[in-house]
């Protein structure tokens, strides 16, 4: 027999989980709806009443994006526009996004790891200023320095190249990678390194075999944040790149909106494909992500 107290507690827990599920559903609904739309054939996308679970499952939107076939983009009520369509560039943009994200993250992480090690293990003038300088750096919104940076790229003749984006993203990700790596390195006890040095290991060996493995969780957290920021950015891609060939996903997909007919199925498929890489990263490394939030090193 349940006592009254147990009943009361069960009811309270039930209410708790019901409200949690409701909140979770509301939070996830836009994404669920996007996924659902992307898997529907044209006729069902505009059906009333709308269906959450597609009655007919189709992968034609994904196929159109991945193979770049034109007919799906042109199959609307409007006459077909001549020239290339955004769907034809999708895989290319995807590769571009991967290149600039990987490139800028790699540069930021290498630079900030080396710098954090130096700041926490050596003594010289100004070493206490650098982390706070970085903190200030990631407060400055990118809209302020995107145009000066663009003019600099013009002078370096790097505009419309992926290099301009890689350098641009280094300038936004480096400050908080620096801050996070510094906070992390500072928390690693120095004694192990001292022991290794006494045992006759070289500075280089200590760094590679002792410091790097211990700093790995921090490196992972910083990398995830850097990747999210670079992958999701729109502003730099919009300002730096002019040619269709060199666009990244975020700027490219917004081009799907040009013209009179918007293909919602295709757009939602593109949205899903853009979210998937970060979602996989996020799920695989969620533990580290939460740790990073805790360190306060989040840009957003």
């Amino acid at each position: 027999m349940l006592t009254r107290k147990q009943l009361w507690r069960a009811a309270r827990d039930a209410l708790l989980y019901v409200s949690l599920c409701t909140v979770t559903f509301i939070v996830c609904f836009p994404l669920i709806w996007a996924l659902s739309t992307s898997l529907k054939p044209k006729s069902e996308i505009f059906a009333t009443p709308p269906t959450l679970v597609p009655r007919t499952l189709t992968f034609e939107n994904y196929e159109a994006l991945l193979t770049g076939r034109q007919q799906y983009y042109h199959s609307g009520p409007q006459t077909a526009p001549s020239g290339p369509t955004p769907a034809q560039f999708f895989t290319r943009w995807f590769v571009n996004s991967v290149i600039v994200t990987a490139g800028s993250t790699l540069i930021s992480i290498v630079i900030s790891t080396l710098a954090a090690y130096s700041l926490t293990r050596f003594r010289y003038w100004g070493r206490s200023v650098v982390p706070y300088f970085s903190l200030l750096g990631y407060m400055v919104p990118s809209i302020i320095f995107v145009f000066p940076l663009f003019l600099m790229m013009v002078r370096l003749e790097l505009t419309d190249s992926l290099w301009s984006l890689i350098f641009g993203y280094v300038s936004i990700t480096l400050p908080f990678c620096m801050w996070l790596m510094w906070a992390f390195m500072r928390s690693i006890p120095i004694e192990i390194e001292e022991a290794a040095l006494i045992d006759g290991a070289s500075r280089y060996q200590v760094f590679r075999q002792v410091v790097l493995p211990t700093a790995l969780p921090g490196i992972i957290a910083a990398s995830i944040f850097a990747m999210i920021v670079s992958w999701n950015d729109y502003l730099f891609g919009r300002v730096f790149i002019n040619s269709l060939d060199n666009l990244t996903l975020t700027v490219g997909v917004m081009l799907f909106f040009e013209g009179t007919h918007v293909d919602w199925g295709l757009l939602m498929a593109a949205s899903v494909l853009m979210t998937v890489p970060m979602a996989i990263l996020f799920m695989a490394l969620q533990r580290h992500l939460v740790a990073g939030f805790g360190a306060g090193a989040v840009k957003g």
Binding site: S19, L20, V23, T24, V27, P30, L31, W33, A34, T48, P50, I107, I111, S112, L114, A115, S118, R121, F122, R123, Y124, V130, S134, G137, V140, P141, I143, I144, F145, F147, P148, L149, L151, M152, S171, P175, M178, I190, I198, I228, N232, Y234, L235, L249, T250, V253, M254, W264, L267, M268, S271, M274, T275, L281, F282, L289, V290, F293, G294, G300
Partner: protein, 299 residues
């Protein structure tokens, strides 16, 4: 031991070698652009005719302060920021309390609730335009079908609703940030405090006001200041959803700066707007530092 420390700090060459890439990169890609942005604010600069660039003193700022759109943008940015932060804080604390309570499956829910943070703003803006589409969007359909509204709501094409839609997008995306920070703090609140309050006969609401809120005070101040600074300067969340429209009804300073630079090719005016934003940012940061220092004294 002391000799060892001396050894560690003596080989300066290695230390300086390791910090050098950061210093160089920071100067070239962080310091220089910001200094250049400040310099540009005092120049007239048209990217199509760089040869005509000239020092104009404070003319860009005069232009700015006499432009009604600048003041509109400032006001709209303020409304946008205040409402976003208000909802983010209330929802953030609420969801954090829920997550804190649930023991079984909490990791699962936490994972899902953090998800919006990693979704690209472009994707959210696209999805928003799709589900809030007045004719074929699912939101209007549901509201009409359930009888809450009689006529379709024009979410993105009337000034008030466009503002509301951008706020919703912002709240949806950044509430997880508040949840994480509050949740981390909640987990360190000593349980004895609640037990004591229970013994004193305090109900759920009294316990929340008298025990939980005071404990959350510091983390909330930090979160609110940080989020205010960032929200005030957001660009993509507004531009991608409404392009600042309809008309200029959702312009904030970042969108204003972008439009001045990109559409009107007045890079000097855009940079001057940036300088105004930086000054506000600086004030915000000083407030933040004051507050955190204040917190230390109390402790």
């Amino acid at each position: 031991m002391r000799r060892l420390h001396a050894l560690l700090s003596s080989d300066r060459a290695v230390g300086l070698l390791f910090i050098a890439p950061f210093v160089v990169t920071a100067i070239v890609f962080m310091v220089y652009p910001v200094v250049e942005a400040i310099r540009m604010a005092f120049y007239s600069y048209n990217p199509l005719r760089p040869d005509l660039s000239a020092f104009v003193g404070i003319a860009n700022f005069e232009f700015l302060f006499s432009d009604p759109l600048f003041w509109d943008s400032l006001w709209q940015a303020t409304v946008w920021t205040l409402l976003s932060i208000l909802f983010q804080t209330i929802l953030g604390v609420g969801i954090a309390m829920l997550l804190h309570r649930a023991l079984f499956g909490m990791a699962f829910f936490r994972g899902l609730l953090l998800f919006p943070y990693i979704v690209p703003t472009v994707v959210i803006a696209l999805i928003w335009r799709w589900i809030f589409n007045p004719e074929i969007g699912v939101v209007n359909y549901s509201l009409l079908a359930s009888g809450i509204i009689r006529e379709p709501v024009y979410w993105l094409s009337t000034p008030t609703m466009a503002m509301a839609s951008t706020i919703m997008l912002n709240v949806w995306k950044y509430t997880p940030f508040v949840v994480i920070c509050v949740l981390a703090r909640l987990q360190t609140v000593p349980l004895e405090l609640y037990d004591a309050a229970k013994v004193d006969g305090a109900g759920f609401i009294r316990r929340f006001i008298d025990v939980t809120l005071p404990q959350l005070r510091e983390v909330l101040i930090v979160v609110i200041v940080f989020r205010t600074i960032w929200t005030f300067n957001k660009f993509e969340e507004i531009y991608l959803l409404t392009k600042g429209g309809p008309g200029t009804s959702t312009f904030n300073l970042a969108v204003y700066s972008f439009e001045q630079s990109m559409a009107s090719l007045r890079l000097g005016v855009g940079a001057a707007t940036g300088v105004v934003m930086m000054i506000m940012l600086l004030i915000g940061s000083i407030v933040y530092l004051r507050i955190t220092k204040f917190g230390e004294e109390v402790r």
